[in-house]
């Protein structure tokens, strides 16, 4: 286990050290101490290493992650795991707005609540939230899965393309072109797999599925102002 004191050594040293780990590195376990809400912690990682951040983080923690597993032992500020490609990001506390935005792949697990715009423009990422998500979550979602074990705020899935949204609790309102959909066996399989991998407490059959009505795909004069 490598312990990195962020306050003593600074952010540039941290990220260049972590980004410098090759695919076959022997230094696979890292712990970052004195995070103190700093921004851009552990961004752009490309090796299959395991990083634990002690304390809460600021903006854009674990952004652009590929291969690595980043665990935040606290809460995460805006844009955690933004544009993640692969790997996993686990937030033990809450996540601020636009968690997992534009993510292409990998798994983002939020053990607490996520604020507004969780999974905005998601492009293949899997996001599992043990608590609630705020308004405009999965706005313009293109692909991937968003699993919400609690409730969803206003305008869930507004202008959604193709992505699976699963909510166990209530949905305050659905956004434009987002509708409730039938839960078929393959969806229960997706849920089962994500629940198992993320370690949240839930059963697949407790969820309702939402997705695109596909009415905004083509230009329709009735949608114009």
């Amino acid at each position: 286990m490598q312990i990195f004191d962020l306050e003593a050594k600074g952010l540039r040293a941290l990220n260049s050290t972590l980004q410098g780990q090759g695919p076959d590195t022997n230094e696979t376990a890292w712990e970052i101490v004195n995070a103190k809400g700093s921004h851009a912690i552990a961004v752009g990682l490309t090796a299959p290493i395991d990083v634990t951040v002690r304390g809460s983080t600021g903006y854009y923690c674990a952004g652009m992650n590929a291969e690595a597993t980043v665990r935040v032992d606290g809460s995460a500020g805006p844009g955690v795991a933004e544009n993640m490609m692969s790997g996993a990001v686990i937030v033990e506390g809450d996540a601020s707005q636009y968690a997992g935005a534009t993510g292409h792949g990998g798994l983002l697990v939020i053990k607490g609540n996520a604020a507004s715009r969780c999974g905005i423009s998601m492009k293949g990422i899997d996001i599992v939230v043990q608590g609630n998500v705020g308004h405009m979550s999965a706005f313009m979602a293109q692909s991937g899965n968003l699993v919400v074990c609690g409730d969803a705020g206003e305008a869930l899935g507004d202008s959604i393309y193709e992505a699976h949204l699963f909510v166990r609790g209530t949905v305050k309102s659905l956004g434009a072109d987002c509708v409730e959909k039938e839960m078929r066996p393959e969806h229960l399989e997706i849920l089962k797999d994500l629940i198992t991998r993320s370690g949240v407490e839930a059963r697949p059959e407790e969820f309702t599925r939402y997705g695109s009505a596909r009415k905004l795909y083509n230009f329709d004069i009735d949608n114009a102002y």
Binding site: K36, G37, G55, S56, T57, G58, S96, S116, G134, H135
Partner: protein, 298 residues
């Protein structure tokens, strides 16, 4: 972008530390707002007394002899404490309005930053650390206070464009965001007889709240009406004589983090601002909900 910090002390033992703690939080928010900074601090009330904080571009010329002239004019016991470009005038509460009128006559160039029983507002152009040092903010004691670091977007970098803005006796407002209907609202307020001094959007929000309260609303009701009447992005923190409040617009893209322990309630634009507070590791930390008015009172 701007930075907001706020601290409401439940534990009286921390009151001598208020200025130091707020200054530390304010400096952490320097990169969110390096243009200007300001702080409103709520000290101890003294029965029957009030405070008028004034600001001058040329402190020597404006403040010299002012206490004596006000004393002659109002025929009451007045003291004046100069702090850099600001001065705090201590006077009988019953003479507050008369003193404002006298000040206008004696020193038309002086600007009133705040008036009330307990609140003092200090604000200037410059880095938050420099501004805090000029006014010796770390030494200030009190029950609660709010601070602001400004990155100017809607109007020029000037002392008058700095936050906090006073919204009434012992009341002030700081703002992170930008209002898009401030010009039409400014015209509407002018028709109601409410004037603002600068081109700043946040000052219009402050004037709007003052106007609503003059019309009979409570501060909480004024903030609720603001959700309908103010168009744009905002996280507001407001200070009152005995507490502070927080409200975010319904879109809530301007950041806000709160922390509460048995000793205090704290506000920061980012968690970074809160990390040095005592017991923060075990505090309840959360994000205020959009379009929801929060209040804490002593």
């Amino acid at each position: 972008m701007c930075g907001i910090v706020g601290l409401f002390l439940k534990d009286k033992a921390l009151q001598p530390e208020l200025g130091r703690m707020l200054t530390d939080m304010l400096i952490t928010m320097s990169d969110r707002g390096p243009d200007s900074a300001g702080i409103a601090i709520y000290g101890a009330a003294e029965a029957g007394r009030a405070k008028l904080t004034i600001q001058a571009h040329d402190p020597d010329m404006i403040f010299t002899g002012l206490a004596n002239e006000l004393r002659d004019e109002l025929d009451v016991d007045i003291s004046l404490r100069v702090k850099d470009t600001h001065a705090v005038i201590d006077l009988p509460e019953s003479k507050l309005q008369a003193a404002r009128a006298a000040l206008k006559k004696l020193r038309p160039a002086a600007r009133v930053m705040s008036a009330g029983e307990v609140m003092e507002i200090y604000k200037e152009v410059g880095l938050p650390g420099d501004v805090a040092a000029r006014f010796d903010i770390p030494k200030l004691e009190g029950s609660h206070g709010i601070g602001h670091t400004r990155m100017a977007t809607e109007s020029a970098v000037t002392t008058l464009g700095a936050h906090p803005f006073s919204t009434g006796a012992d009341q002030c407002l700081v703002h992170n965001g930008s209002l898009s209907n401030h010009n039409s609202l400014r015209r509407k307020l002018a028709r109601e007889g409410v004037g603002v001094e600068s081109e700043n959007d946040s000052e219009v929000a402050a004037a709007y709240l003052s106007w609503k309260m003059q019309e009979g609303s409570t501060l909480a009701e004024a903030l609720e009406s603001g959700l309908d009447d103010l168009d744009g992005f905002y996280t507001f923190v407001v200070g009152t004589k005995d507490g502070f409040g927080v409200v975010r617009d319904p879109i809530a893209c301007k950041p806000a983090v709160m922390a509460e322990t048995d000793q205090y309630v704290a506000f920061g634009s980012e968690y970074r601002a809160l990390v040095n507070l005592p017991g923060i590791e075990d505090a309840r930390v959360w994000e205020p909900e959009p379009a929801t008015v929060y209040f804490w009172k002593h």
